[in-house]
Subunit: 168 residues, 8 copies
């Protein structure tokens, strides 16, 4: 099984957040890999990884980082495929990571999701892959439909909230 | 010619910024359309647009908005294809737009680029399309290569800067 | 009993905050309803809700949302009645929600209260309804008078604080 | 002619911003007054004004202030009718005024609009008055409809933008 | 015993912070009073308090408030004596209170201390009183001298920290 | 003539801002001096200045600084008299200077005014001096009274603003 | 043993953070001292310390401070050797300390590391010392090499994470 | 002449800011080179540069970058010598660059100076070189002494400022 999405993070401490990207890809049966890489600790490996990713069939890279979060941008500078950046809240409520990832200079985009927004990164990766894949596209339609369930359930719960002047 | 990318903005005042997305797509010969839409002024048209986009063959949507920038997220809630959000600097240095676009709740991602980062939105759209398109992928490789030219030129200019103790 | 105020929120997790709006309306015997809606998960239902609200006699809508908080603005784009927005603190101390709600573009206002300011949203809704309702207006006068009680009580407590050089 | 809306500001330097509230009310034929008041320079007059406003038939107050913007909150503490606050950008991009107006403590709401959002304040005032006034409600419906015109016009302008690969 | 300093706060919940101002004044044997007042809940009492303060011999007012912290500025608008403002951290890390207190418009200063900086407010009040009071001035000199003690103690503790290559 | 207030700044570039403090003191006939000092460029002179200030009869020090604004706090660490800090907007809209001045640690207060708030610094200094000086106190009362004039004038100007539905 | 690096902090409460600087220097066998000093509590001792540091053979100073963090800048104004500043998170997530240390005016630099970034301060000090010391330089090379270990270990851990569609 | 300091920047547009670093090094007769490099446009060249710098005798690197400013951190990950980072104000008042440079994760420090603080970067580089170079150390002492001149001049200018109640 050849991975289509590569999830990279700088530390296993990011795993509880990034698990949600893996969960989503797994649910949609999109093969993926997970690796630890650090723009600062292992610059040589980052380069090796980036240069090989496309040849190994990787279509999208999801890169998570906190603080001065360079990993997504550094990877993006080395590949032609889209890179999704997940700012991790490690300090300053994640604002440093958000700015370090989103504010890339012209020429080298990173598709940034919200702070700790790993599930959204997984969905976005699936959307990119679905561009040329009707089956994944259908699964995304199903997922989108299922988003309503939480609201249906919430309305059921809210019906149980009782006030004298509450009308529903 | 059927468009593959749809660029939408809330006002022609965003055109000077968003032109850079159009320029990039045009340079890569990727057909695109440009429309004005407003999440707040024309909610019905946004829905009509969103529902029809995929059927018309649109693969990626680029949506620009400033201030409480809802357009990218609202579009994203209505389509399965990827939506790229461009925060426009209309107030607070663009910080309000960046947060209104990037901080989407779980389930509905927007691929956010930097403030006024329209060229990067165009590149990202091309990267997504290149997933299943070797020609566009090659053009992106050429573009990536060309990014070095600006640095080569800069080094030539910097050689002309003279100091007694400057060694190069 | 026909509701005059409609409280909407994206999730039951907002209920502990939003309960204070319901409490206030209930105390003033203003009929209200509570529903879950999501600008992003259920855009079609949001539209159905918004278009029907005025016909059902709703005079004011209170909409709560966190992060990239689009719900109040999206509702406001679809109705003529006033919409009160409550920024929920779900990330970044609620600053993202405050900006996503308050910084609406010209033409579509949202009456924004403070972060997690649900009681104030309830009071503001009552003030709007009191515009044409002398009984509610009188109840608001009573409520305003009662605000002093907390200060009277605080002064009694502060009298118990003893210091050698404290004179009161 | 008895005014229904009272616009107050701390200085004539706020007039270029606040004019948009007056323009909107005038267009909707809602009688209004404009006065200068300062929470800090004329506290006694603020009190006299606030106490008399309701008796004079004022239904809504629009109060503008910059920096440590206390005027809207101070007025709100003295009246039962709704107070709309307009944060003026006089320093720190208006962030100080936004926080000084929006972050009111429980019990005394101010309906806050965006920074320099005077037109939205005028619309919100009209929405509140329309609660019991079918004619104003109809005018708001017309205004809402007219918001689309700017987008229609923008689309016409965007049609004139020519690119080889632009399809519309 | 006639108070020279008046400490006011909006709620007994501010007492754990504001106690440090009282402690300092008590240590310096400067008579003070503590009262609860609210710019928003009891505007009339604020006025009564402010107008009477100077006649009762108050030389300095210390006013604490959180969120949209208007109390110090509102008091300052009504008195000629100096007002010291203490921003309380009740939301947004206290940044809203700091800006609401410090950014006063020209003409009505508030002497702002740091967020939750109640001891510094007490010291500042004592410094103002010491302007015409040699005894208090001497006590402040003693206090200033005592500040060193904490550093002397810290150095003793740090001596106990052992490392092979630590030289002291 | 012996100065009672000492205005210090790090550079003559601060003079256009700080002039307003001098203007106010001059208007109230309070003798003052103006000197340039820098916490970073002339630390020894700062110490000499600080140690001599009280002996020369200085009652209050006004210190202005921008960026990492250490001057007010450094002076405050060396004197017993009150130090008023004026954050100068030299970068980051003055937010760096505001925090560097206001957020002093316990034990060493600086009475902080708003960004570029030099007039307020002058008024605050006068208020401190008026503690033991009835004549200055009366002048402050006159000044406070005169603050209303700007509002009276503004109301006259606003009367000239004509709208069909403006009632005053 | 003569110290080459001097670590100073304002309080033993900073020790848990600053310990990491000491740990690093100790590991590299670089002699260091630790002292408590306060720009505000002990200005005279700061001066004595600063003036003597170079004569005692100190090559680099590491200074930690929180809030309005003046210590690093004040020390830097008194010495010719490099000063490394560590912003301590004591309020506002450490943003006040970061700005108070980094935003030094022209002429007096402080080498600022990240908020609570004590280990990086230790490494930076070692890098400066290694400029003229091949042995320390080699140890830094070894340390740099060892940074990869954490990533190797992380990859081993990530291999244990199992998903049906995880390929590695 | 072999360079001891290497100044790198991403664009000649940074030259007007970075010139001040070059000016300072030239004044102190410290040989330096200036090159354009981009972490994102020329990642391969960055690596080549970094790996060769130490062998070519470079003792310190000064790297300038704006927005998501990765260059200083990326260089720092590849060298053992100290890297000084200069945040360039290209957006958001330079706050994005400051955080992207200062908030480096543990293990890879960047010595960060203030926003656009190029002269301070030059001074810091000279301080590092002076560690093992008495002549440069003496020049730094002279420079430090000269910092007072600006204050002496400022005091002369301030003497010319005339007020009736100005005493000096």
């Amino acid at each position: 099984m050849q991975p289509k999405v590569s999830i990279i993070m700088g530390s296993t401490s990011d795993l509880p957040v990034m698990k949600k990207a893996a969960d989503f890809l797994n649910d949609l049966k999109i093969p993926f890999e997970i690796n630890a890489l650090s723009a600062h600790r292992t610059p040589a490996q980052v380069e090796t990884f980036a240069k090989g990713a496309e040849d190994r069939g990787i279509k999208v890279i999801i890169a998570a980082a906190g603080m001065a979060a360079h990993l997504p941008g550094v990877i993006a500078s080395m590949v032609k495929i889209p890179v999704i950046g997940v700012p991790i809240n490690a300090s300053l409520d994640g604002m440093d990571a958000l700015l370090s990832i989103a504010q890339m200079p012209p020429g080298i985009p990173v598709a940034t999701v919200g702070i700790n927004g790993a599930q959204n990164a997984g969905i976005l990766a699936a959307q990119m892959i679905a561009t040329g894949d009707a089956e994944t596209s259908q699964k995304l339609a199903n997922f989108k439909e299922s988003l309503k369930d939480k609201i249906v359930k919430a309305n059921e719960d809210l019906k149980e909230v009782k006030y004298e002047f509450k009308t529903n």
